[in-house]
Symmetry: C2
């Protein structure tokens, strides 16, 4: 097996055919990660921080070349990809800062507490140690920020764990280019051989999560693929943590006041068509009062949105079948987009708007569960607050839930309380796409949004996924290696 | 099916026969927990703290009665059980303090950070919300501190999660007594019905981890039972976190200097016979220099240790088969204890000491993996530092690793570095039994010691297992329910 780049605007393959890692190559990469685990774990914080910064600098220095390759392979557009590359560098530098200023240990406040003041207790102090080699599975929709050198790899390297990344078959050349760059830069700062490695191919991915040499896995992508890998990770004789982020329907609710806000319809359409709807935070469901009469506006305005490119043939095909699945449900009507001729030679796809009454959704809540990756949303119209609340109680776990409303409307607070039960983020009078890298951010949610709703790849706490505490009981400094000293 | 108390000193059943929860009772308990989830999650911190303190007060008020029942059911002895009850109250009060002073939110420092100072970013603030009803599976060896009202239940209630506890069949009357006490006290402080419930029986336990109404499970006990429940939890359509703490061999290493320390042999024997060796932190392996010539001392001193009572017939039988398994391994010799007549009518068991050369252990490292719950340890004698280090590199995940040594010996620091790779706690010149409840404590370790090496039931961070962050993006205070306000 092998992979080759495909141009989403033509559906045509281009560039080199990259063979999957064979068993020898795979074993060498994982063995090298194992050999690197101890020396990288004890590498001084300054070395790890310098490595992360050097990688960021390397990405910036190669920006033109990397963005050009990424644009050809993903169709995401250069300006968006430049911004994504910058975000990726921001993440790398954030983790460098955390490692360098010692605030890793402070992420869990209690780590630094010393109990020697309590009578009769031994002296106890917690330190955090890396858990060992981490397998990273990136996503096709963020080829920089959530792939080979995204938040998962950055946080694992920062934690002191070697990384084995699986190249994404939808951006094979970019994966290779970034993988080589990271390996070269790590070697340049004196990181041990094997601190970073890249493998290619479906089989290599399967093998990684079951490999005794891998101590954790981090995954961003579809729920179907992610669940299969999760099942392998937890079925091991020695189960490992599997941090999966799958995406969700990310419902947006509007009260009467919210639906009247300026730019509400265009804000919605901008958000659901961003990158051709290929954000895991895309608003898949818009729940609005029927009295607002938004459907004609939506139908009119959506016609102004050009088709976007789906990332690859798999997503194009899943989008079509997801759409068939949704439109086959009783009560789901097509408002716009379906039936328009799809350019067969490319993966171009215009926005699709569906509609259903809240009563139909309450009769078949599966309408709320079916994430369909790409530019489609279901507008759910409710007759009264009671129906809106009832819909909010049928939701599954989401990355983000949104309310557009007025602070004076009781429904606003009720919906926020309900959304807090099922979402990892709540947005008020805004849109769910766009996930700022910040300490106050949380990009996770109850299943099926993520496998672990406490920690995900976004934000400083991501590093805790690859560390574990060790309590030192009465251990004098003299017998502690440098990396375990307080 | 049903359960009945058994006196470990005679093997005779006594007291009422308690029927397992039937399907109706089971469903009612879980449904009530589901109904309690929302009101308990929004109960003011003061109410939750008061509830935890009232439970502690209730345990103290009923101490005589509870300790008497526990002593009859477990054979653990009243003074130890009184101390364990006090520890349990300490845990409850610690979580009450955490809830009441708002430091739950501060456990993850970054929770409170506000990113509004960064230009162009939305205002983001994280709050922690409870994840919903938690199933708790206690252990037979700590009927107070790690059972119905142990650290798992205390931390879940503190987090705002209802608890469904499974009664332990080895202390059924105590489980009932504590369960009733907790239910009564929670009702007294105005907690919603169903905030705490108890179910009985093996089938109810299996059903709990697979129940859609249960959002997390916490387990303390054997690796075999725990793994079976873990497998069910992760195989669900919606997998839930399973926090299992299984125990381990907890190796103790001594350098030449360490082996000469005053009271080394008696310290070891005290630790491995504590509660008849039924601590998950029991030193199961003692790795010592052959040159220290400790075997004669150990053989002599161990004869002064009286048999202790194993907790129940299952442990007595597993101990015997575990011992057979160990003694069948090539190179494992019996030093003391095996062959002594076991009192057949009771579960009394004297200490057993086995011995093996380090070279034999290196040839068959499974000697280091077999936790045998009860009063048995394997003394491994090494010829030189190289052998000691080689043994340390064959270890599986442990709750705790110990080094006895002198700060001047290079071997001390090497062993500590090695133990940090596989243990959750490192003890210097002490013994692994005894786990202080303190912020600097960590009672966990890599698989197979625990299923999650980041968080366990001991210490303040236990509460984070039952919470998840929600990021609030630009949400004004006016539309936030009280429990989500900053």
């Amino acid at each position: 097996m092998s992979s080759q780049s495909v141009d989403p605007s033509t559906g045509r393959p281009f560039g080199p055919v990259l063979p999957d890692s064979d068993s020898t190559e795979y074993s060498e990469v994982v063995a090298a990660a194992g050999r690197a685990a101890r020396p990288w774990s004890v590498a001084p914080a300054g070395v790890r921080a310098a490595a992360l910064r050097a990688i960021a600098d390397g990405l910036v220095a190669s920006r033109e070349r990397l963005v050009s390759v990424a644009a050809l392979e993903t169709g995401l557009g250069k300006s968006r990809l430049v911004a994504e590359l910058e975000r990726t560098c921001l993440q790398l530098r954030m983790f460098a800062d955390i490692v360098n200023d010692g605030s890793v240990a402070a992420l869990l406040v209690e780590v630094d507490k010393d109990t020697s003041v309590h009578t009769g207790l031994p002296q106890l102090r917690k330190v955090l140690v890396p858990i060992g080699p981490v397998a990273v599975f990136g996503a096709s929709n963020f080829p920089f920020a959530f792939s080979v050198i995204g938040g998962d790899t950055a946080s694992a390297l920062a934690a002191g764990c070697p990384v084995v990344a699986k190249a994404h078959p939808a951006h094979p050349q970019l994966s290779e280019a970034i993988g080589s760059l990271v390996e070269r830069i790590l070697a340049g700062v004196g990181a041990p051989d094997g601190t970073f490695g890249l493998v290619r191919g479906f089989d290599a991915g399967i093998r990684l999560v079951a490999d005794p040499g891998i101590r954790a896995a981090a995954f961003t992508g579809s729920g179907i693929g992610g669940r299969a890998l999760y099942d392998l990770a937890v079925a091991r004789p020695d189960p490992i943590p599997f941090y999966g982020e799958f995406g969700s329907v990310n419902p947006v609710f509007a009260t009467e006041g919210g639906a009247k806000r300026d730019g509400f319809v265009s804000g919605f359409l901008d958000s659901m068509t961003l990158a051709a709807g290929q954000f895991c935070t895309k608003p898949g469901v818009l729940v609005v009062p029927r009295s607002a009469g938004l459907i004609p506006q939506i139908r009119e305005q959506v016609s102004g949105y050009a088709p976007g490119l789906l990332l690859h043939a798999g997503i194009a095909s899943q989008f079509r079948s997801g759409l068939d699945h949704l439109t086959a449900k009783p009560g789901v009507e097509v408002i716009a987009g379906v039936g328009a001729p799809m350019e067969q030679a490319s993966f171009a796809q215009g926005p699709v708007i569906l509609r259903a009454d809240a009563t139909k959704v309450l009769a078949d809540p599966s309408i709320l569960e079916a994430e369909c990756f790409g530019p489609v949303s279901v507008v759910v119209e409710y007759e009264n607050d009671h129906e809106a609340i009832a819909v909010s109680e049928q939701l599954s776990g989401c990355l983000v839930g949104t309310v557009h409303g007025d602070v004076s409307e009781p429904l606003s607070a009720i919906l926020i309380e309900r959304l807090a039960w099922v979402s990892g983020r709540i947005v008020w009078n805004g849109w769910p796409t766009g996930v700022a890298v910040a300490a106050g951010q949380h990009h996770g949610g109850p299943w099926p949004a993520t496998t672990n709703s406490l920690f995900t790849s976004v934000g400083p706490a991501a590093i805790l996924r690859f560390l574990r505490p060790v309590a030192l009981q009465d251990v004098p400094q003299e017998v502690l290696p440098a990396h375990l000293r307080g």
